[in-house]
C-alpha cells in the first residue's frame, strides 16, 4: 500500500498518538458519572474524539483519491540553533544573569542565518542589551538577576 498524502498521514498519526495518550492517562483519574463528573470524564471522551479524528485523517491519506503530498524536509540545524539558544537562555538567566544570557541568545540564534556576520551581531547584541535593560529593568522595574552569580554582592 502506498501512502499518497504523507502530510495527512503524519498528522493522523500525531492526532492518534495524542488522543490515545490523553484517553489512557484519563483512566487514572476518577471518572464519576454524567451527573457528577470526575476529573477523568471530559478528557477521556475528548481523547477518544481526537483519536477517531486522527484515524479518519489517516485512512483518508491512504485513499486512492488523496492528493499526493510529501512532508517537506526538516532543517535540523535551524531547529537546533534557535531552540537551543532559547533553552540556553533559560539555563543561563538564573545563574549567569541577564546580560550574559541575552548575549548568548543573540549570538547563537543569529548564527542560524546564512548571512551571519560576527561584527554585525556584536553591534546587535550590544544594542539589544542596552535597550532591553533600559526598558525592562530601568523603565518597568522588573526583577532580573543582572550579573553572573560570582559578580553579585
Amino acid at each position: 500500500m502506498k501512502i499518497r498524502n504523507q502530510r495527512d498521514f503524519g498528522a493522523g498519526i500525531m492526532y492518534m498518538v495524542i488522543g490515545l495518550f490523553f484517553t489512557i492517562m484519563a483512566t487514572q483519574y476518577p471518572m464519576g458519572t454524567a451527573a457528577k463528573m470526575g476529573p477523568g470524564y471530559f478528557p477521556f471522551f475528548l481523547g477518544i474524539i481526537m483519536t477517531l479524528l486522527g484515524l479518519f485523517v489517516l485512512i483518508r491519506s491512504l485513499s486512492a483519491k488523496a492528493a499526493i503530498e510529501s512532508i517537506p524536509k526538516f532543517n535540523w540545524r535551524i531547529i537546533g540553533l534557535i531552540t537551543g539558544s532559547v533553552v540556553l537562555y533559560g539555563i543561563l538567566l538564573p545563574t549567569m544573569g541577564f546580560i550574559v544570557a541575552v548575549f548568548v541568545l543573540v549570538f547563537m540564534s543569529a548564527s542560524a542565518s546564512h548571512e551571519f556576520h560576527w561584527k554585525g551581531t556584536l553591534v546587535n547584541a550590544s544594542f539589544l542589551i542596552i535597550f532591553t535593560y533600559s526598558v525592562f529593568v530601568v523603565g518597568l522595574k522588573l526583577q532580573f538577576p543582572l550579573l553572573p552569580f560570582f559578580l553579585q554582592q
Binding site: K65, L105, S113
Partner: protein, 500 residues
Amino acid sequence: MDLFANLALGFDTAFTLQNLLYCLIGCVLGTLIGVLPGLGPIATIAMLLPATYALPPVAALIMLAGIYYGSQYGGSTTAILLNIPGETSSVVTAIDGYQMARNGRAGVALFTAGMGSFFAGCVATLVLAAFAAPLSQLAFKFGPAEYFSLMVLGLIGAVVLASGSLIKAIGMIVLGLLMGLIGTDVNSGVSRYAFDIPELSDGIGFVAVAMGVFGFAEIMTNLEKKDEDEGFLNKMSTMIPTKEDVKRMIPSILRGTTIGSILGILPGGGAALAAFGAYSVEKKSSKYSHEFGKGAIEGVAGPESANNAAAQTSFIPLLTLGIPPNAVMALMVGAMTIHNIQPGPQVMTSNPALFWGLIASMWIGNVMLILLNLPLIGIWVKLLKIPYRFMYPAILVFCCIGVYTVNNTVFDVYVTAAFGVIGYLFTKLGCEPPPLLLGFVLGPMMEENFRRALLLSRGDFTTFVTRPLSLGLLIASALLVVIVALPAVKKTREEAFVED
C-alpha cells in the same frame, strides 16, 4: 432624555486637564508596552497597576482604561508586523494582517486596524451608555448549558480560520481543548497531565503557546527560505488605502462592530469569541473569500473592530453586575476595590460621576489612540526595513524576556521553546495553529460549563436541546458545519474529477 444629561455629566468629569492628561499617559504607555512581543494587555495592566494607586479614583480608572486600549492596539501592531499575537483576539488579526505586511501592505493593514478600532470604539461606547442596564439582563439568561452551546458554536466557527483541510482543523481544535485541560482540575483539585511538575499544575500559559507556535515557528520557517529572506521587508509600503480597500473594509467594520458589541457583554470568552466570530462571518460572506489567509483586508477590518467593540462592552457586566468577564476586567475590579469602589449596579446611582466619567473617557481614549497611532504607523513600518538577520534575534530576545516576566520563571521559557518545535512540526504536516489557540483558551471554560450543566440536569444530556436558547445556538452550529463543509465536498469532487 437622561442619556444626554448623563453623558454631559460624564464629559464634564472626564474633560478636566488632569483626567485628559492621565488618559493620554495611559494610551501612550499602553501602546509602547503592548507593542513589545509577548506583553499583552493583561501583563501591561498588571505591571502598570501600582503606578495608579496614588491617583484619585476617577483618574486612576481613566488611566487604566487608556492603558487597556493602548496595549490592545499595540498588540495588534505586533501581530500584523511580526505574526506574534500577544493575546487571544489578535491571533485572528495575525492571519491576514501578517500576510498583508508580507505583501508590502503593512501600512494599510495598520491603518485599517486603527480606523476599525476607532469606529467600533465610538459605537460601542454609545451602546454602553445607552443600554448598559438592559443589556446586562441578557447575561442573566445564559446558564451553563447556553454557555456550552455558545462555545460549540464558537469552536465550529474557528474551523473557518484554517484554509486547508476541514477535518484537520477540527483536530487542531480538539487538540487545543485537550491542552487547555492540563493543570489542576478546579472541581476536584486533582492535578491532570502535570506529571508532578509543579509549574504545570497551573496549566500551560497562553503567551508561551502563542509565542512558540506562531513566533518561533515562523522564525524557523523564514530562515529556511534563504532567498526570500528580505524580500517582503524592503517592499515599499504606504499607509493610504486605495478606494477599493475603503470600499471593502467599511461593511466589514460595520459587521465586526455589531458582533463585537453583542458578544462582549457575555462574561467569559465573549471578547475572544468576538474576533473569531467576526473573521468567520467575513470569510463566509465575502466575495473575496479566496483571498483570506493571503492578506484580505476584511480579515483585518472585521476582527479588529469586533475586538475593540467587545473590549468596550465587556465593561457592561463589570459596571452593572460587578462580574469581571475576563482577566483584564478582574484586574480592573482589583483597581476599583483599592480605591474603595465596590463594582456593581450601585455604582451607577451612588457614584454617577465616576460611572459616566469612565464611559466618556473611553470615547476620549479612542480619539487619542487614533491621533497617537496614525503618525506612529510610519515608524512601525520603518521597523520592518531592518534586515531580518538583525530582526529575528531581537524578536527572540523580547519573547524570552516577555514570557519570563509573566510568572517570573524560566520554566515558561522552556515551554515556549518546546512549542516552537511543535509549531514547526505543525507547518510541516500542514496543520494550521489558529484553531488550536481558540480551543486552548476555551477548553477549561467549556469543561466547566459542560459539567455544571449536567450537574444541574442530573446527568440528563437533553438539557442542551430542551433549553430554547441553547438549542438555537446548537442549530446555528449545525448550520455552520453544513455551510463550511459544502464547498469542501464540492472541491474534493472537482479534484477527483481532474485526476481521472
